[in-house]
Subunit: 451 residues, 2 copies
């Protein structure tokens, strides 16, 4: 129900959305947003093509908000929220969703934790009642904590500790981020997860699981007035919590070095590398910079038409894969990543050198107007595609609102993308993609250790 697979998939999805673009107001009608009296924010996205509705609650609490030494507690709540409340036994919510043929899940990221269901519109009130109930009425006994802690520990063992790729990514993150809390893994460090206890859990729940720290997103075959009436009857009855301080976290100092992190493991067959830089997110960037970074990622390595793919995979034929991406939807500064893997007899070093050459080229010479126009067009096409997916739309709004943005930011985003100039793309490439100040992870087969 509440797995890290889902979490990771959701993170990729959010990333993909940042690439394809928070864009649209649904097929029909205007996106509505309003506040309940207790401070809970509500966004309604009409989409009447099919009789379904996506109901999501986003809590503005993620792993980067965790107290020192309590890593993993945000994700722990992704699990705990499926346990018994004073009104419902554990599993009852899941069963109710399954009985009506719906689906549900949850995910945790650095900046938020979200719970969602997709059901028939007639079940929306019931979903809200369940969600509003578990927002405040969880029964957090020592027994519940212990049982579910064993589950997350096993999750860490199976998904991270047994995966060379995941272990490497964890240490690359902690090497890229030397001060900002994105260096701490969402699932938590094992030795801290083991110590999470009932006192920690209750303090965390009481502080963050409150209507004034949550965003309700409803997309689908439903009217704003209906959503409002149902929300007031359910979430509206939950008492407002204490005001939380602004989410001001330690920020990253300037990077002066070139860093690398290497993991060699017998289970690795093809070597890979990825290089990252700290760059601004939509929330921290100066106007236009994040949009320019989105288009830079698209042009440099966003897909089969990108420079990296065309040059390394198609023309030179040295790479099995090569690309770039930008994680724009984050509360704090974020990362820009390039990656590659060799094909056939090619060496990893050759692929890295070729990727680096493309990075140096784009930072020095910028992009052409034609490339930029085509990249923008690809974005627009992606938006049309995204429009077809109700949960993608809901995710766009939820992730934006949970990372310091608002509905207007989502609505105006396509126009801001259209305004980006080639000079702006060149400027962000030159400013941020400095190879001497980068962090590279290498995943190598055992025999290449030390190479």
């Amino acid at each position: 129900m509440t797995s890290c697979t889902r979490r990771l998939r959701a993170a990729l999805l959010t990333s993909a959305l940042a690439l394809t673009g928070p864009a649209l107001a649904g097929d029909d009608g205007k996106v509505t947003d309003f506040l309940l009296d207790n401070g809970m924010e509500v966004v309604v996205i009409p989409d009447h093509r099919a009789p379904i509705v996506t109901h999501m609650v986003w809590y503005k609490i993620g792993s980067a908000d965790e107290p020192a030494g309590k890593s993993g507690i945000a994700h722990f709540f992704e699990h705990l929220m499926f346990k018994a409340t004073t009104n419902h036994a554990a599993g009852e919510f899941d069963s109710a969703v399954a009985e009506i043929g719906g689906s549900n899940n949850a995910f945790t990221s650095y900046d938020y934790t979200a719970f969602h269901e997709t059901v028939a519109p007639s079940a929306l009130g019931e979903m809200m009642a369940f969600e509003a109930d578990r927002m405040r009425n969880l029964i957090l006994t020592d027994d519940v904590i212990k049982t579910e802690r064993d589950v997350i520990l096993e999750e860490r063992r199976s998904r991270i500790d047994s995966s060379p790729q995941a272990l490497l990514e964890e240490e690359v993150d902690a090497t890229l981020w030397q001060n900002q809390p994105y260096r701490i893994p969402v699932i938590g460090w094992m030795q801290e997860m083991e110590q999470l206890n009932r006192t920690d859990a209750i303090a965390f729940y009481d502080k963050y699981y409150r209507p004034n720290n949550a965003v309700l997103v409803v997309a689908g075959d439903v009217e704003p007035d209906t959503v409002k009436a149902l929300a007031e009857k359910t979430y509206g009855k939950v008492a407002r919590g204490p005001d939380l301080p602004p989410r001001i976290r330690p920020v990253e100092p300037e990077q002066n070095t070139k860093r690398s992190v290497t993991l060699s493991d017998a289970r690795v067959s093809v070597p890979t590398f990825s290089t990252q830089w700290v760059v601004p997110s939509y929330h921290t960037a100066r106007p236009g910079e994040a949009e320019a970074l989105d288009l830079l990622a698209e042009i440099l390595g966003g897909g089969n038409r990108s420079r990296l793919y065309q040059q390394l995979v198609v023309k030179q034929g040295v790479a099995a894969e090569a690309g770039a991406y930008f994680q724009g939807t984050m509360l704090d500064a974020t990362n820009f990543t390039i990656y590659g893997a060799p094909r056939g007899d090619a060496k990893l070093g050759d692929v890295e050198a070729a990727v680096d050459a493309e990075v140096a080229h784009i930072a020095r010479d910028g992009v052409t107007d034609d490339e930029l126009e085509k990249a923008k067009q690809r974005y627009v096409r992606s938006m049309i595609f995204a429009r077809d997916k109700q949960d993608d739309m809901a995710n766009m709004y939820g992730s934006t609102l949970a990372t310091g943005g608002n509905v207007q930011d989502v609505l105006e985003w396509p126009d801001r993308i259209r305004k980006v100039t080639a000079d702006e793309v060149k400027a962000v490439a030159a400013r941020y993609l400095v190879l001497d100040h980068s962090t590279t992870g290498y995943l190598l087969p055992q025999q290449q250790a030390g190479n």
Copy 2:
């Protein structure tokens, strides 16, 4: 008066002392320790060879205890403590010390902040009165904060930001330590130092500058009864502060990767490297492990008789320098470091390979009984040398007591060193000095960038 030079020198001194060994009770008489009624700990080390006395106050507060986002505030207090109090103008304490021909200073480390004076015994009471006054009576106005903040910012610019070596060390530390707060520089990250304000300072001062969070160390030509009477009249009048929670900080997860951090700079003429591992400190180690690490560092690279020096500098002649050290006196897990630099036409890579070979050799084959015996003897000789320096003795006790140890630990330390076996040295080498799980910093001349 309160400089980072001094801080850094003090850190080296502490390290050197860990190598040369907290050992002795002074030339004459027994080390006495007791508590004042308000919880302040007092250690008296008789040393009657000359009519001088070393007076130190160690606060159990260092940079690793700082609140998130407030890096630099512990060291900031090293400066603020020299400003005006309700009883004395700024500079008055310094002038009083200078007038009587004494010396004074202060230093900050990860685990403590210390203030010390060396004066004639007749001035001890006056020193105590000054120290007890500034423990609680500082006047922390916005103006004082701003002025002294400019001083520490300039200190950072001149000592860190203008030094390739210092910048590299900072990022190596933050790469070695991915969770434990030793990754944060003692002087602080610039962007956080700039934001330190009066509210932060008052909260910090009121929490940590209290008699029950301090250790008084007096070494010199004075009797314990005299010290006790003077301390009760001065420090004894200061009200106890609130009880502080145990100093439990985030700890480091297991390292699965080989990491590197490279800085290339035109100001560098000779390339150097240093490789570090996370190892236990005296406070965190299982019995005997820290002592074995001390002897391992001594045998591998502790001086001119060490393997690294003999092999690389003397026999092979490829290195201008090569060595190893272990920082044992820390509250949390600490680091073990090896380093080297090429001589003449030798390449840095050759030196690193030769150092690595010595590490692999000692981890695989251990040390000989003869080497171990000689290393122990060198320790004993160092102890005799240390005995001659009153401030070294005071530092031993202060740093040990400020990092979770007690007087008995200092007194018994030589015996514990003598008991270490060759098998124990081999075991810690094999367990901790794993090259695939290490962190290396490279400082390179500009033209070697990317090599």
